[in-house]
């Protein structure tokens, strides 16, 4: 029983991180119509920056509890990186998709190496953050309190993002722009600004994903590529450009993955891709996709 609960928690934990990554990917596509292949790498950057900051802080004798504050800092850094990179993409908004895919693919290759240039080959960890919180007992088993925080952040992010998009003026601008770029600019919206902020938010989400997960794991080279593919599966299932889609997709993927690990370890990965392929067949735009 307690095993079941913990596996469910594990899935939710995994889902919240996946959601953060996929929602960012989806938001960027929804508004800017760009499939950002470098998105997973933004997630990795978030992890590395946070782990590095935490390491420094601990070394400087900052009490572990305070290092919690470094998580938003890490995510913010990625958002800034996004703001810096967005101008690079501007020439491609009106160009064919293949160009957008390729320029972001190039970006992926570059960033992956830049990470290595900055932090080298050794895995970075930030677990002092995790140990600030006690573990919770489930029957005979224990579950790290921090993981519950990660789940909470995932939920909060989902609600927050929803609120921003559907309850604020800025959200209206976002949706207007995603509906029809020309119309939006005709209505006097500063589309350029909308794009920058959408991209920054998307990067922030990815960065946050990396920042909250790194204390429970390690920041390692290549983590971004794996994340990207999983995020792809998520948005394909949920629907590119759909927030609900990212949420449901993330839940499906993480629960299927857990079930795969528990019951049929041999084809754990293949199942995910098959689900994606099947969804694309019956509903090419994904479960919640429009466009």
């Amino acid at each position: 029983m307690s095993i079941l609960i913990i596996q469910i928690l594990n899935s939710l934990f995994y889902a919240s991180v996946l959601f953060l990554i996929a929602a960012g990917l989806s938001l960027i596509f929804g508004v800017m119509r760009i499939v950002n292949m470098a998105h997973g790498t933004f997630y990795a950057v978030g992890a590395f920056v946070t782990a590095w900051l935490v390491g420094r802080a601990i070394a400087l004798g900052v009490p572990a509890a305070w290092t919690f504050l470094l998580i938003p800092v890490g995510a913010g850094a990625v958002a800034l990186l996004g703001v810096a990179i967005e101008p690079l993409l501007r020439p491609f908004y009106r160009r064919a998709e293949e160009y957008q895919l390729l320029v972001t693919f190039g970006l992926l290759l570059i960033l992956e190496d830049v990470i290595r240039l900055l932090w080298g080959g050794l895995p970075l960890s930030a677990d002092p953050v995790m140990d600030v919180l006690p573990s919770i007992r489930f029957g005979g088993l224990i579950y790290p309190g921090y993981n519950l925080v990660v789940i909470a952040i995932g939920v909060a992010a989902a609600i927050g993002l929803w609120a921003v998009i559907y309850r604020t003026k800025f959200g209206v601008m976002l949706r207007a722009t995603s509906q029809d770029r020309r119309m939006a600019s005709a209505l006097g919206l500063n589309v350029g600004l909308v794009y920058v902020s959408a991209f920054a938010i998307g990067c922030f989400m990815a960065g946050l994903g990396g920042a909250i997960i790194v204390p429970t794991q390690t920041a390692v080279l290549g983590m971004g590529i794996d994340a990207l593919i999983l995020a792809f599966v998520v948005v394909v299932i949920g629907g590119l450009g759909s927030l609900q889609g990212a949420l449901v997709g993330a839940l499906i993927v993480s629960f299927v993955r857990t079930a795969g690990i528990q019951f049929f370890p041999e084809i754990e990965l293949a199942v995910l891709y098959l689900i994606a392929a099947v969804v694309l067949l019956v509903k090419p735009t994904g479960l919640f996709g429009t466009a």
Binding site: Y14, G121, L122, P123, D127, N147, I213, L221, G222, I261
Partner: protein, 463 residues
Amino acid sequence: MDKPTAVDRRKFLGALGVTVGGTGLAGAGLVAGPQLVKAAGEPPKGKIPDTPYRTGHMTFFTSPAAVLGEPSYKGHIMAAEEINAQGGFLGKRKIETITADEAAGTDANVKELRRMKLEGKIDLFTGIISSGNTPALGPVAEELSLLTIFVDGCTDFLFDKAVPQPKYTFRITNIQSADGITSAIGTAQTWPQVRRIAHIHPDYSYGRNAAEHFTLALERLLPGTEVVSESWPKLGTTDFTSHITKAMSANPDLLYTAVWGGDYVAFYKQALRYGLFDKMKVATTLALGVAPHAIGKDHPEGVLAGVHSNYYFTYPGGDRWPLNKEFVQRYHKRWNEYPNFQSEGSYVTLYMLKKAIERANQLVGGWPDDEVIISQLEGMGYDAPSGYVYIRPDNHQGYKDAVIGFSKNLPDYPFSTWDPNRVITIPIRNITAPPSWPKPGQGHNESTAAADWIKKTWPKATG
């Protein structure tokens, strides 16, 4: 398969030559040897060209496996610097090194090896971490008649199948099957009561091989053990929570894992917080092997911590084996970190080659042909930091006594290390198939000669 006979476990382990001792003591097969770094004995015969000796070192500079690649490269460079300080091979030929990134992918590596030989004009190819790459590159090296000494890439498959009659290819580190068997012996020796075994392994040949040989050996050492849970996370996985929970759900007595590198760091940190280490014993193949400083102080104690059944820098320790003491000191001075088995392997590679070249020169004079150098490498015994290394002439495989220890947090190191008083050593000859043993496809279809050998010859332990 013929029915295994039954013998008493203690006798059995004794027969395997298993010794449990402190790092101060010499393990099996250790003989105090001459100092490693010393000017060549005899002056070189004949005229030696002073053209540089070009080596190609291919290893992981990128990807998660860089944690193994960098030590390998550092060991190579350090040896090259030392040898060059004496004027190079035979005091004349300075060692030049060109590198390539193993992470470019097996297929790109094949291309790159050809480029190094045909364009880079290298005299020696060395390095290689991944057991997926040696079977690809071995045949190419033979094809190019290029003297090649793999540091790792330890799969039995290389000399069992890919290059059954090696001429130019050698390998310095212990073979893969030794990992599983060593962990199994360590387990039987330490925790004879375990019966229910859980497995978590990276889903590629290394993990598969480790699981298979561990299980085979354990069946004989601890009859009645059963596999109660299996997980095969993809190499590069960082979220193990579901795998850990699955393993715990089967409440096993022992978890055996071949997860390594960044994956292992992520794994033990999560396992720790899921209370896995309180629930079961844990045996590993590579936990402390990757890079000593990669494992934090938070690593639990008493884990059977594998080092690829090759080498850990604190063993043989003390002044009992100065070769190692001095090697570690020099390495730490040069790189400001401690060596791992890759560092030692690539370091020893160049020194064994040096010895072979010197002998060959004494035989034929001048700069010896590869054929002569190879003849000297075959069957060479050598006193290395890790102990006595022997290159078997039949399969060009380097053998050293297998070692495995238990994790412990000592004040003198900023990371988790081996318990100095509990190191298990096993004479390698007792856990690998003898030279004459048929290779897979020759009368049996086991995955390795070792597997077939265990099935056919190992008795079942009792008591």
